[in-house]
């Protein structure tokens, strides 16, 4: 809200502090200040009015009131002008409010003998300094009073009306051309101001051209009304029209304001667009349900408990007085209870916490002494996701991978954004690998070798249901790499994953062959947890957390010596080492303590594998015969599996 310093000065008898001092006072007791701009011999203060005070402080009256309360500067006593005596010669207007819930109050008044002309210099300047365009004296008067009081007003050309004013819902498909020459098609949900012929304006948002006040206008109807906040907001959003009026109505104005604003605007129009022949009609005021003043109660101890202060009764009373609250006090249980009737314009004061805020900001939050809570500290619960993510990052760092964050928006995916920021960012990522590939390519412009990983959320659908998963992916690459090295690189990456699984306590890992771009699918305890490509992997981190085990059960090492038996064999290249180790494991029996593949040698068509079996018993020292028996059993099993396998025994 643009506030003119010059205009503000008119509210006070005493001299106002400088704009900077005012800005400081407002900043620490009411509103944030966006800027102070000096222009046209004035200073325009841009006050950021948030939604809780938009109903009373999108106005010079409101901001002046705050300044008065904060600085203790009394406002000049200004009497609201009364309506001039009504003349019987003025044409009459009827008003019919069909939607009483959406229009709590409607005041209309006819002014006859108006001379529409350019505004006087002072008014033009006042609007211009606020960044407003001057139209003519009538329209400017309504705008000026809105910036003064916060109450939007509208003027119709009486001669262009056909019958009385009706406040009703639009009919589906009804049309209007707005003052800024936009053609709109309305719906039944929109509240409109209409006459017999059709729509005159969209209630609380924008007037139409049909009854526009122009140079030929002699008789005007002024509207000062109260429209329902939600309805105005909904209509303004759906139609995509935001105006100074809609901004105020959607914040919920008090229905006591239209009368004061009407009196002020009539007096102003008589003054600047009147001439001698001006005559004023009887005001019509449809105001069936007057809202009752609300009572809010808070005690001194509650104020101090919320704020954490030790304010006195005197300090609190001082605040109520500054804010012009009507209140009574009552002593009760060693505290003082305040029963407060806030001013009618303060629609934001509903619960006791609202009053505590008034005390806090008026006294100033500097009064709060930083103290630690006296509450007992409860031991925090370990968050498994976070704890394991920390371990995982540590392992990845140790393996040379750096931690990166990439964008969640993508040009493909399963979940579509209704309002994307760009056409190539329409979807939410359904994997991390895509983003990592882009980052890898970028980084390889500057580095010979790159290793990166990311932990983040990915989004997809499972049977039509949205699923959000915590994913973990890594990728590596080189500027130049011979194909012969790629295989070794893959095994190194697999080694990294082995370390990750060990560190997180995920066991029974199984790598299964996969096709296409994939090299392997990874399973833990037969649950699929991820996939590997030749230079990357992506794992379901959520599942990894579920599968992680941290219970260590100690097994005492055997007191008896172990024996070693090595098995080497040639197998065709197409056979996986895992198949061989599976057979050994299955046939070695309970004496097998560990099995290690300690040598792999590959030839074009076959590969040589060498396994070491460690055999040991918990009860006795094994004899050579016992060890040989195991060895022979395994060798027989291997030979029986496939005649082409050459077991070198």
């Amino acid at each position: 809200m643009m506030i003119s310093y010059k205009w503000l000065r008119e509210y006070f008898d005493k001299k106002l502090p400088t704009p900077e001092k005012l800005a400081h006072a407002l900043t620490f007791h009411a509103f944030e200040i966006e800027s102070i701009e000096r222009k046209m011999g004035d200073a325009v203060i841009d006050v950021k009015i948030l939604p809780n005070r938009a109903h009373d402080c999108l106005s010079h009256d409101g901001v002046a009131g705050e300044i008065s309360a904060i600085l203790g500067l009394p406002l000049k006593k200004v009497l609201v002008p009364q309506f001039p005596r009504a003349s019987k010669n003025v044409p009459r207007i009827s008003v019919s409010v069909k939607e009483k819930k959406l229009c709590e109050r409607y005041i209309a008044i006819v002014l006859d003998g108006v001379k529409v002309a350019p505004s006087p210099k002072w008014l033009k300047e006042r609007l211009e300094v606020l960044g407003q365009r001057s139209v003519n004296n009538v329209v400017d008067a309504t705008n000026y009073v809105m910036f003064m009081t916060g109450q939007p007003l509208h003027a119709f050309d009486y001669a262009k009306l056909s019958g009385g004013i009706i406040v009703r819902r639009a009919r589906d498909g009804e049309q209007i051309t707005t003052l800024d020459k936009k053609d709109l098609v309305l719906k039944g949900e929109h509240l409109v101001i209409a006459d017999k012929e059709g729509v005159l304006g969209i209630a609380g948002i924008k007037g139409g051209v049909r009854a526009e006040v122009d140079g030929a206008t002699k008789t005007i109807v002024i509207e000062s009304a109260n429209f329902d906040a939600s309805s105005v907001r909904m209509t303004s959003m759906r139609l995509g029209i935001k105006t100074d009026a809609s901004k105020r109505f959607e914040s919920g104005l008090t229905s006591y304001l239209p009368e004061e604003a009407m009196k002020k605007v009539v007096a102003l129009i008589v003054d600047i667009a009147g001439g001698e022949k001006i005559q004023i009609g009887e005001p019509i005021d449809i105001f069936p349900n007057k809202p009752k003043a609300k009572l809010v109660t808070i005690s001194l101890s509650e104020i101090n408990r919320i704020l954490g202060t030790a304010l006195s009764d005197k300090q609190v009373r001082e605040v109520w007085k500054k804010l012009e609250f009507v209140f009574t006090t009552k002593k009760s249980n060693a505290t003082i209870v305040y029963r407060i009737i806030p001013p009618v314009k303060r629609l934001d004061l509903i619960i006791k916490e609202d009053l505590a805020e008034e005390v806090g900001r008026m006294v100033g939050y500097d009064v709060l002494v930083p103290i630690m809570p006296s509450e007992q500290v409860i031991s925090p619960v370990v968050n498994a996701h976070w704890a394991l993510a920390d371990i995982l990052r540590e392992v990845m760092l140790g393996c040379g991978y750096s931690d990166v964050y990439t964008y969640a928006f993508n040009n493909k995916g399963e979940i579509e954004v209704a309002n994307p920021i760009a056409s190539d960012k329409r979807f939410l990522r359904n994997n991390l690998t895509g983003g990592l590939k882009v980052a890898l390519a970028e980084n390889l412009k500057y580095e010979n070798e790159v290793r990166i990983f990311e932990l983040g959320h990915i989004f997809g659908k499972d049977g039509g249901v949205i699923k959000e998963e915590h994913s973990f992916a890594g990728i590596f690459g080189f500027q130049k790499r011979k194909e012969a090295q790629m295989k070794e690189d893959f095994y190194v990456m697999k080694g990294v994953l082995t370390r990750v699984f060990e560190a997180l306590g995920i066991c029974d890992i199984d790598y299964r062959e996969a096709g296409g771009e994939l090299i392997a699918s990874i399973y833990a305890k037969d649950v699929p947890i991820g996939t590997m490509t030749i230079n990357g992997f992506e794992l379901n981190f959520g599942k990894m957390v579920e599968l992680a085990e941290h219970h260590i059960r100690y097994v005492a090492p055997s007191r008896f010596p172990s024996m070693i038996r090595d098995i080497s064999l040639f197998i065709p290249s197409s056979v996986n080492a895992g198949v061989v180790s599976g057979i050994i494991n299955a046939h070695a029996g309970e004496l097998l303590r560990s099995l290690m593949l300690f040598d792999v040698f590959e030839q074009p068509d076959k590969k040589s594998l060498a396994f070491r079996m460690v055999l040991q018993s918990n009860e006795r020292t094994l004899s050579d015969e016992e060890a040989n028996a195991v060895y022979n059993k395994v060798v027989d099993a291997l030979r029986a599996t496939n005649a082409k396998w050459e077991v070198r025994a």
Binding site: L50, G308, Y365, I371, P373, N383, D403
Partner: protein
């Protein structure tokens, strides 16, 4: 007797020279230049956002706060309604929202615009007293520039107890900032408005000089006492419990602490930035 002593001395000298020669010998034999750089496998680097979130979680962890999390795809209920931001209320304009085409039943879905929904989800699951810190990713539908991104990280704090006041909020946050920036600081509150807190404040931190005088104030967070409607939405009796909530931008603290001029650089995976940060 004299001879014996001489003999002993001779042996001792011999031993020292021998031992000395022996070490000389190995280093020389292997040709080790002790001034050459050591070799270690290259370590990766942590992202500054990770570092900052860790710091935040650690400091609040020491003050008894549990880390809580929530989904990034949220319902209108958790992101707005339960936080006292009803439909058709102008307060909704305070958050520019990415909406999804999909719905959950009749309810509209969105990308959470703040970490505040975690408050509600946690209150629904856990009884007070509560102390949580919820770092996480949030989204805003807005044009990007050096200080704005469509995606960024926030952290939300919530403390509910019998007697948790705004002065406690000030005490907790002052302690947090001093630990985070490892220097004495000042903190001040300015009146503000958030639908989910009442009273609401903006929080500025002040960098002080040697004399304790503030050189510069920086706006860093929004906070306040949890609105009774929010406590009720979380299933907590507002007549028995009260507390504070606060929320700040992780990215903003990264920018402040490390002097990164453009937040957009944080999300491109650029190692030229990341490699300037720690390896532990």
């Amino acid at each position: 007797m004299k001879n014996n002593k001489k003999q002993r001395l001779k042996y001792l000298c011999f031993f020292i020279v021998f031992a000395y020669n022996k070490t000389m010998h190995i280093r020389e034999k292997l040709g080790i230049d002790v001034t050459l750089p050591g070799k270690a496998p290259e370590r990766g680097h942590l992202h500054p956002v990770t570092l900052m979130m860790r710091d935040i979680a650690r400091i609040f962890g020491h003050m008894g706060f549990t880390i809580a999390e929530g989904p990034e795809i949220e319902s209108e209920h958790y992101n707005f309604d339960a936080l006292n931001i009803p439909k058709d209320h102008p307060a909704r304009d305070m958050w520019d929202t990415f909406w999804l085409k999909d719905k959950l039943g009749l309810e509209r879905l969105l990308l959470r615009t703040h970490t505040s929904p975690v408050q509600i989800r946690y209150m629904e699951d856990c009884e007070p007293p509560i102390r949580i810190i919820a770092p996480g990713k949030v989204y805003r539908y807005e044009a990007t520039d050096a200080t704005h991104e469509t995606q960024f990280y926030q952290f939300e704090g919530l403390m509910i107890g019998k007697d948790v006041s705004m002065a406690n909020l000030k005490g907790m946050l002052l302690s947090f900032f001093e630990q985070l920036f490892e220097r004495p600081m000042q903190i001040r509150f300015r009146p503000s408005y958030f639908p989910f807190t009442e009273p609401s404040v903006e929080i500025d931190i002040g960098w002080t000089d040697e004399k304790g005088k503030v050189v510069k104030w920086i706006e860093v967070m929004g906070a306040g006492q949890v609105h009774p409607k929010v406590l009720e939405a979380g299933g907590i009796d507002a007549s028995k419990w009260q507390g504070f909530a606060f929320g700040g931008g992780v990215d903003r603290f990264v920018v402040l602490k490390y002097g990164i001029p453009d937040v957009r650089q944080l999300y491109t995976g650029d190692l030229r930035l990341i490699k300037q940060f720690g390896t532990v």
